[in-house]
Each structure stands twice: as structure tokens, then as C-alpha cells.
Symmetry: C2
Subunit: 323 residues, 2 copies
């Protein structure tokens, strides 16, 4: 199975309003709730692609209960509402006393523009962190790959991802780190197999906005492979065996929410399938684009994915990353 | 006891952010949750003033559970965290299958300005409405006054308040109606003892923004007494025995959230205490002002209330309302 870790899970709420006007009152026309946090999004996509997936991290309080109820619905459906055979999604979240955070996306009906509000998350106690580590080590025993995703909740030390990476490496489980800021900086020093920053995150980490330079610097600091997401220009992969850029055939209109999580899912799937880098990258770009094109944020459109996959252009870069 | 009815209860969330900028992402710096909906706010103030209060209406789903948990905390504390003896607050909400709505207030830290998002509320089934009516009739048997507060959830017919007023009148329980729009228009035809519209609500009802004219028209349509709230200018009471205006001694700075609900609480308290109109109005104005001045939205500052009460200026208006 593939393990995804979401230490700061969330109940994602979406409020649709005619138009958001600050300092006025709004009638919400419709509300949706879904399990959230990057690792849960990655797991949902993996399960829909047919991969056995286990999610861990923390959940607690009334919002945690709602979150786990929604996950149970996904478990029952294999991560997809459609007729395509799907992998299982198993909830291995560790209970905590605090209340799982909410995130709120306020969507303007007229323009489709989104305003995002993210609660900070519950305070995690040292005993809860210890309980998580015991569970994590057990889960690593059955994992073919692990993804560490998103922000850290209050109470978790900033070097937490470095510790989780060391434990994964000790268990010989390949590890992908998808976070930002200080947790990313500390995490790459523990030598993760893969990081997937966007240009802002790379610039914050390395001081450079030039993708090749910044990726080389991130590799020098410890990341074995850097997959830099370039937005509409696709992704740039700096690996031990070469450097590739993969571009979508056209810029698709839609909602970019979840496109990065879909790319992570594709990279994990390609890793456990052992396919060559160019194919992994093509899958990541096609799945990202199919997520942007889907009507529901974070879902992907299977038809679009299959149509785009052979059209993604992957070019090897003449300048190889240097370690 | 005093009964308050809140058909569309809410879990009131407050998100504090540095500044709300549409179409960007925000880190929420702090989150608060409290039981909401006008009737629950009125009941909290009444309990803090020392009146036995029962709340009814609907609650359901995970947010309904959180709401009832917060109400249970209030029950245990008698509606106040302070050392002043307080009345009881009893939860007689009727369970429903749907999920109680949330309201979200987004507060800009810099300016204190608030942006409000109100979810529509759960669909109430005919069987749930029937169960409510059975419970409501029983509760009326022990009620000295009843307040019908706020909007109607989906599934409740627009004439619902008229029906509740007729049942209260049949049980000889004085009834205050605090709503707006079509539910107010339909409600006053059933001859409530008291309505408490603001100028916008009066104008929508009568077509006039002139308080005396609009109040007279609202009385002609069936309301025995009209207490028009004039914002910082206090309130205008058009009653069978005379017309009075009550003004606060000065305009207080603060958060007006809940000021109207505090006025309703004071009017109900004055009604069951049987005090003359000028004193009722003075209490309503002082309690509203003490709510504006309190640091937490919807709470009132007891010291401010007691200091303001003798300073409220109540003048009888030479033009009496005519029935």
C-alpha cells in the first residue's frame, strides 16, 4: 500500500455566494463538506486510480468525527463514485483531544474566484505525537511509499518531517515530502527521495526563482529528486539520472485546487510501478491538468486524463542536475 | 419561565484574520464557536439577568451536536461566567435529521469590521414540524412569555409564525415576534403582542421609513405594540397606552452584534415583571448599549448596564398611536 501522512487534516467547507463583498452580510447559496488536507487529497486520487492507500495523521473533536465519517464514505466507494475499479482507502488517523481544523473556500458564483480561510488546527500534545510515531512505524512495515504532506499543526516541532523521513529511510520506504517554509527546509536535510515544491516554495528555500538553479540548490541540500511545479508550464524534474521538463499540450481552463495533490499522487503511483521518469512526469502533468478541468475542485476527470496522457510533451534537458 | 423559539438555530463561528482580501488565502489567527440564532442569544441574556429561560426550535447533525454541547455548558453556568446569581437556561430543542447551519463572522483585526456568511439551514420535514408543534404547545403551558425569533429554515411554510402566535394567544401567553420580510408580514396578521423591527424591516413591511407613520401602519396591520429600533437614537415604542422614545445618554463605541437581541431580552423581562413602559424601554436601551460596549459580541457588560440604566432619557411623544 501507499501511505500518506496529513498531520494537519481539515474539514474542507465550500460556501457558494453570489459575490463576496467585505464588511457586508451574505446568504450562502450552497455548502459542501469534504475531507481535506493535502495527504487526504493525494490518497483520494490514488484510491480512484486503483492503488491501495492508507491515510494517517491526526483527527479529533466534532470536526474530526465529521471528517472520519466522510472518509468512511470514501472507503466504502473506493475513493470514487464512478464504475471504474478502484483501490481501497483506509483510515488510520490517530485520535487527538483537540478539534480538527476547518478550511473555508468562499466561491463567487459570478467569477468562480475563491477566497480561502484556513484555521490553524488543534494543539497536539507530546503524548499524541508519541502515539502517532508508534502507529507510523507499524504502517511503514506495509508501505511501498510514503508521502508527508502539508503544514504542521500547533504543538508539532518544526523538525517533525525530518524525523518521519529518517524513520521511513530506516524502513527502506521511499519518501516524498510536500510542504513549505521551515518544515521543508528542515525536512530536506534528512534526505527525502522526492520533494515537489512550486516556484514560490523553491525561492523561499533557495533564494532563487530560476527553476534549474533552485532545483540544483535544493538537491545540494539533501533532496534526491526535485520536481518543481511550473504552473501552466508543467513540471521540471531534477533527478540523479537526468533533468526533464514535462508540459501539458494546452493550457486548460478550470480550478487549480488540488492539481498539485494530483501530481503527487501520480508521482507516487509511478514510483511504486517502477516506470521510467519520462512516463512518471507525463502521468503527473496529465493528472494535474485533468484535475484543473474537472467540475469539482480536487477531483479529476478520467476521460481528460486518458486523452491528455499521450499528448504530454517530455523533453530531456541538456543541463543535468549536478550533485 | 420565558420561552424563546429559534427555528433556524446556528453554530456561530468567528474567524479573526489580519484583513480580509477577496480572492486570496488567509491564515485564521483565532476561532470561536458559540450557540447562535436570535432566540438563543435572547435566552443567554435573559439567563444572565436571572430569568428562568427555555429555548426551543430545531437542532440536528454534527453541528447541532456541537451547538447543544455549548448550550449544556451555558446551562451549567446559568448563562454567565460571572459571580452574579443567574437564572437557568434549559435546552428543549427538537432533534432533526438535517445538519444545523453555521454562520461565519470574519473579523478584520485592524479595523474590527465584520463580513458575515450565513448558511441556509437544514430542510425541516413535515413530521419534524409536527413534533415541534406538540412540544411547543406543552412548553406554552409553563411560559409567562414567548419570543419567536429570526429566519425560517427551508421546509417551514412562510406562515409558520402566524400559527405559533395563534397557539400562544390561545394559551394566553404574551408573544413577541422578531423577524423580517414575509414571515413578519404574515406574522403580524395573527396579532402578536409585540414586534421589534428596525427601520429597514419597518420600511419593507409598510413602505414608510418615517418611524411614527410606519409604526402606526404596523399596528393597523395587527401588531399590538411596535418597538422600532432607531440604532444609535434608541427606540420608539408605539403602544396602546402611549408613544415613547428612549435614547441612550451617549453613543457608545463597540460591536452592535446582539444589541437587538439584548433589547428583546429586556422587553421580555419587563413584560413578565409587569413594569411600566418607560422603565421597560429604559432597560432595553441600557441593555442594548451595554451589549455594544462589551468586548465579546453578544455579551453585555453588567457594570455598563447598571450605570446607563438611570441615564436613559425616556420622553412621551405628544402624538399617540391611534388604533
Amino acid at each position: 500500500m501507499i501511505l500518506t501522512v496529513t498531520l494537519n487534516t481539515a474539514l474542507d467547507l465550500t460556501h457558494h455566494v453570489p459575490a463576496l463583498v467585505p464588511h457586508t452580510s451574505h446568504r450562502v447559496t450552497s455548502v459542501t463538506e469534504r475531507p481535506g488536507g493535502k495527504g487526504l487529497n493525494v490518497a483520494r486520487v490514488l484510491a480512484a486510480l486503483g492503488y491501495e492507500t492508507v491515510v494517517t495523521g491526526f483527527a479529533g473533536g466534532p470536526t474530526g468525527e465529521v471528517l472520519r465519517g466522510l472518509l468512511a464514505d470514501l472507503e466504502a466507494s473506493g475513493g470514487t463514485a464512478g464504475p471504474v475499479p478502484a483501490g481501497g482507502l483506509t483510515d488510520a488517523l490517530v485520535p487527538v483531544a483537540g478539534n480538527t481544523r476547518r478550511t473555508l473556500a468562499i466561491v463567487d458564483a459570478a467569477t468562480g474566484d475563491t477566497t480561502q480561510l484556513n484555521e490553524p488546527g488543534p494543539q497536539i500534545t507530546p503524548a499524541e505525537w508519541d502515539a502517532f510515531l508508534v502507529s507510523y512505524d507499524e504502517l511503514l512495515g506495509g508501505a511501498r511509499a510514503v508521502a508527508l504532506c502539508g503544514s504542521l499543526p500547533p504543538g508539532i516541532h518544526v523538525g517533525a518531517y525530518a524525523e518521519l523521513i529518517r524513520r521511513a529511510r530506516a524502513a527502506s520506504v521511499p519518501v516524498l515530502l510536500d510542504t513549505s517554509g521551515e518544515p521543508l527546509r528542515r525536512g530536506i536535510a534528512a534526505r527525502p527521495d522526492l520533494i515537489k515544491p512550486n516556484l514560490d516554495e523553491l525561492a523561499q528555500l533557495t533564494g532563487s526563482r530560476e527553476p534549474l538553479t533552485a532545483s540544483a540548490e535544493a538537491r545540494r541540500r539533501g533532496a534526491h529528486t526535485v520536481i518543481a511545479s511550473l504552473g501552466a508550464d508543467g513540471i521540471l524534474a531534477s533527478t540523479e539520472s537526468g533533468t526533464w521538463q514535462a508540459c501539458p499540450p494546452a493550457t486548460l481552463k478550470g480550478n487549480p485546487t488540488g492539481a498539485g495533490d494530483s501530481a503527487v499522487a501520480a508521482l507516487l503511483a509511478g514510483l511504486v510501478d517502477g516506470v521510467p521518469w519520462p512516463e512518471r512526469l507525463a502521468r503527473a502533468v496529465a493528472l494535474s491538468a485533468a484535475t484543473v478541468a474537472a467540475p469539482t475542485a480536487g477531483d479529476f476527470d478520467r476521460g481528460t486524463y486518458e486523452a491528455l496522457l499521450p499528448q504530454v510533451k517530455v523533453t530531456e534537458h541538456p543541463v543535468h542536475g549536478v550533485r
